[in-house]
Amino acid sequence: MSEDTSETKQVDAYLDSALGSADEAEHLVLGVAQQMGFQEDDLHKIGMAVRESIVNAVVHGNRYNRRKRVHLAVLTGKDRVTVIVGDEGEGFDPGTLPDPLAEPNLLQQSGRGIFLIRAFMDEFQIRRLSPSGTEVKMVKHIQ
């Protein structure tokens, strides 16, 4: 039998390019994830991944530009939650991100956000949007 990949959109919001949007997004996503039955440890990981994504979108993507918005979508499937975060920034090549675990980068002050999202979520994709912007899509499965 084929895997059930259908998803239902639970949240579709456009947030301000402000750090407070990280709290708002975390609240929205965890509300859905709690209802689905995710355990506390996974809720913490999902919340942290969402915060890091929103901060990246606000700080590095939209650069706090009040005219730009951060798109947040939350979809649920049979055994997973999918979170999509998009910005309206200039976009970047994810291949250029330095490895935060490499010896010369270990004591860098920044550059660990996407690494942590990858560590905490089961699936992670990043893509450029047309005409501009970056979108990350991350998935967590219920254990």
């Binding site: 750090l19 990280a22 942290m48 901060v55 935060p100 675990l101 270990l106 920044s110 942590l116 560590a119």
Partner: protein, 114 residues
């Protein structure tokens, strides 16, 4: 609640009890300012007590690293005690657990500066 810092002196070691959230914004800037202030006052033996830190993000980790290097550049040492499981996990997956000297016992940590 953003991070709150309460410094106290144990011999010649400055112990900073940190509580709350160390996240981008007020939380991480409180930590940065607190450590800079200690270094400016000539305190070179700094022990950060993270036992009451409820949450730390990548920016907070960055501030810990920045504090570590700024104290080291001033000829001092910054060490950590009482990591929660989540903070310990974060330092392990970012390979920073081997960079910081970490203790569970304050007296042992204070003695280690001698």
């Amino acid at each position: 609640m953003s991070a709150k810092l309460s410094p106290r002196q144990v011999g010649d070691v400055t112990v900073i009890d940190v509580s709350g959230r160390i996240t981008l914004g007020e939380g991480s800037s409180n930590l940065r300012d607190g450590i800079r202030d200690m270094v400016a006052k000539g305190n070179k033996k700094i022990l950060l007590n993270l036992g009451e830190v409820s949450y730390i993000d990548s920016s907070g980790i960055g501030e810990l690293v920045s504090g570590f290097t700024s104290v080291a550049n001033a000829g001092g040492q910054l060490k950590l005690i009482n990591l929660t499981k989540r903070v310990k996990d974060l330092l392990q997956i970012t390979k920073l657990y081997t960079v910081f000297e970490v203790f569970d016992d304050e007296a042992a940590a204070v003695r280690s500066f001698a």
